[in-house]
Amino acid sequence: MATVRYSRIFIAGVCLMTLACVNVSAQDVQFTAEVDQNKIVLGASAQLTLTVTGTQDVTGIPAPSADGLDIRYLGPSTQISIVNGQYSSRKSWIYSVMPLKTGHFTIPSVSINANGSSRASDPVEIEVTDTPANPGVAPVPSSPSSAETDTSLTDKVFLVLRLSKDKVYVNERLPIKILLFVAGLSVADVHFPEFKQAGVDMDKFDQPQQYDQMVNGIRYHTVEFNTNIYPTRIGELTIGPVTLDCNLAARSASARTPFGAGMFDDDFFNTFFDRYEKRPLALRSKTSGLTVLPLPEENKPADFAGAVGQFNLDASVGPAEVNVGDPVTVRMQIGGEGNLKMVQPPAFTGADNFKVYDPQIKEEMGVKKLEQVLIPESEHVTGIPAVQFSYFDPTLQRYQTLTKGPFPITVRRPKSDAGLKVVGSAAAGGAPASEPPVLGHDIVFIKESPGTFYVIGERFYRTLPFYLAVALFLGAWTVLWIAYRRTRKMTTDVAYARRLLAPKEARRDLREAKRLEGSQDTGKFYDALFRTLQKYLGNKLHLSAGAVTFETIRSRLSGRVDEKWLEEIRQAFDECDAIRYAPARPSAGSCAESYARVQRIIDALERSIS
């Protein structure tokens, strides 16, 4: 269903388009040209509209032109309307027409190619008058000849170049004026003049002045640009032309107040209702001839460096009293009328008894300044030599020489030789804040004392005593360290301490038992012998006295000592028990044998168990 509905809409659209095409083809194609005002004043602009109706099928943009008129294309306009099924189309091209002079002008017929055939517009008549464009401001009275001759736009805005004189010396300053005259027109966005001239140096333009003046009975608003030029080439020069870019604010007649002429046709209301159109305008002045004379050769000073004009020279020297080696600053200042670029201040290039530094030269506010540092190298210096500056005065037409100085100064020998002695920075213990000038360089004097004599190649750290001392030191440290470790372990590790002390205590106990061996009381002897063995084994194996039985001992020592020694221990325990708990009285040989057995057991265990 939807497909059927869309198909119907498409068919209906195609039908409508077809009908429209039929209507268009049936409509007449017309091409017209018209201006919004046939009568305009010089300085204003009119609007030309070329319109084609009945078709949009137009190729190209028409380009109307006419002598005396400046026609500029502003843009197109297209209008299509369907009223009561009646289709109409309209295409327009809009142009701004600005007259360049007064008179009657005809914009000739313009042709276009519409719908494959050529169409031509009718010519358009325009009358340009010289009536004031704006009666409220700067009324321009018609000159007597204006009624008979046409007035051109270039009569209302033009540029004039004026030289102050036509004969100068080379490098002489020549003031020039560039004047922009405007009468009855609105000019905006005025640029500085452009002046490109070979063989001429030029200053920057001053700030322009603006004023009104009457010329040939016409009031002109004038913008005056002032600058100086300096011809650098000898001979006949042609100065100019000077060009200047600005915009002409042309009042468009199409935007006239809707109230027409009358009480609203004055500047106040025009300001509100008029439409101004900016048109770039490149103005060009006429040229001027200039004769550039060479400077005379006669009486030319030897130090003349090309300065031409009227100059003055100031020079000063300070300080007036210095020590040998202290800097003296010479300051010079040259000002006046002339080309300062050509002025070379008379710097010192070399002087006896002086060290001369390069001068610092700068130009500020029309004055050339020089600063130069001189260092007197002898106390016999009594002054700075005179400075001399020569220039050519074009007014007097002769060379002039200015002289300043000589400048007396007092140079003293330094009070101490400290400033003259070359001292190394390290020797001086650091650089002083302001180092005295150094007059010469040499090495520091020899040393009076030899210091410590060493045997060549001998070093104390390569000698045997040093080596022994190091070994002793290391040994002492190691011993102290080991002793500390041992002491610490003895106090913290009970098993270790008991094990370590076991043989010592056993030896003491054996001595006690030995003492009892000779006594009649063999029970006490065996008792002591048993306690010795019991205590030793308890210490060695970290067992309490009650826990020392043969079975315990055997379980602890099995595998660690030979079985023979276990048997010996068993025998020793049995012998002691037999005597201690039985009335048997052993012989003296048995006691010695038992003592020797215990001793052997302890020795063997000391060797076997660490």
Binding site: K447, T463, W481
Partner: protein
């Protein structure tokens, strides 16, 4: 426990680093006495004042031949050679003096001045690598700024100390370390305090030991050209010349034969020069 291992290691290293007794010096029986050396020193100084620099040089050299040296002796000998116009010998003796009195201002000034006279870099206390010859136009063998400044810091600092001073410092730090260690054990110092003190002393000791090792390494086989000459590609008279050797220029002697020595310039360029041109510090 770790600290103890470190301490043991340091002493092992220190023991190895301490060279064996120099028997050759000990066996020297022709040593001049200090009084004799002083007498000759004064004689030489008087000759120097009288501008008899040849006599001054002879007297100073006599002390050296007698087996004695001192910083002031080398300094004065350098001055005498400078006055005689032997820049290379002057710089050589100033450098020798620097091994004994490295922080002497007069010495550093004179050394810098002599170097400037020899068209060598003049900054006092520069490292050996900084004393590279002026780069040639072709840029061959030109040391980069990085290479020049690479070991400026450490080298300059260690050259401001003599080897004797550094060994004494090592001994001092070792004594302090031992004293601190033993005190911490018997005095039952807190673990943190013990680690802080012993760790700091260990770092100081290691810095000293590193400085000494670097100094020995940097100054080993260092020599100065006592005369201008040409370095060649091969140790033959007719070999192609490689570069010019400026009087006073430092270099390292890589191999020293009877008549030729293989040297390495500060910028790494190696060449063969006649054996008489360079003398070791």
């Amino acid at each position: 426990m770790n600290i103890r291992i470190v301490i043991l290691f340091m002493f092992l290293v220190g023991g190895v680093a301490v060279p064996a007794v120099d028997d050759a010096v000990a066996a020297n029986s022709d040593l001049i006495s200090d009084a004799g050396a002083l007498s000759k020193f004064m004689t030489a100084a008087a000759a120097y004042r009288a501008e008899d620099y040849d006599k001054a040089v002879a007297a100073y050299e006599a002390i050296l031949r007698g087996g004695k040296e001192s910083g002031a002796l080398y300094y004065n000998l350098g001055n005498s050679y400078f006055k005689k116009g032997s820049l290379g010998k002057a710089i050589l003796n100033y450098e020798r003096a620097r091994r004994l009195i490295p922080r002497d201002g007069d010495l550093n000034f004179n050394l810098a001045y002599a170097r400037s006279k020899a068209n060598l870099p003049t900054v006092s206390g520069m490292s050996w690598a900084q004393l590279a010859p002026t780069p040639n136009k072709d840029g061959v063998g030109v040391p980069t700024p990085d290479a020049l400044g690479r070991d400026v810091g450490i080298d300059q600092r260690i050259r401001n100390w003599t080897d004797r001073e550094l060994v004494w410092m090592l001994c001092g730090f070792a004594l302090l370390l031992a004293a601190g260690h033993v005190s911490s054990l018997y005095g039952r110092w807190p673990r943190r305090a013990r680690r802080g003190v012993i760790g700091s002393l260990c770092v100081a000791w290691l810095i000293c030991a590193g400085g000494l090792a670097a100094k020995i390494s940097a100054e080993k086989d260092l020599a100065v050209a006592v005369a201008a000459g040409e370095a060649k590609f091969e140790p033959r008279e007719d070999a192609t010349a490689h570069f010019r050797v400026t009087e006073g220029e430092p270099a390292k002697i890589l191999e020293a034969g009877d008549s030729w020595a293989k040297i390495k310039r500060a910028d790494g360029v190696v060449g063969w020069v006649p054996g008489k041109i360079f003398e070791r510090f």
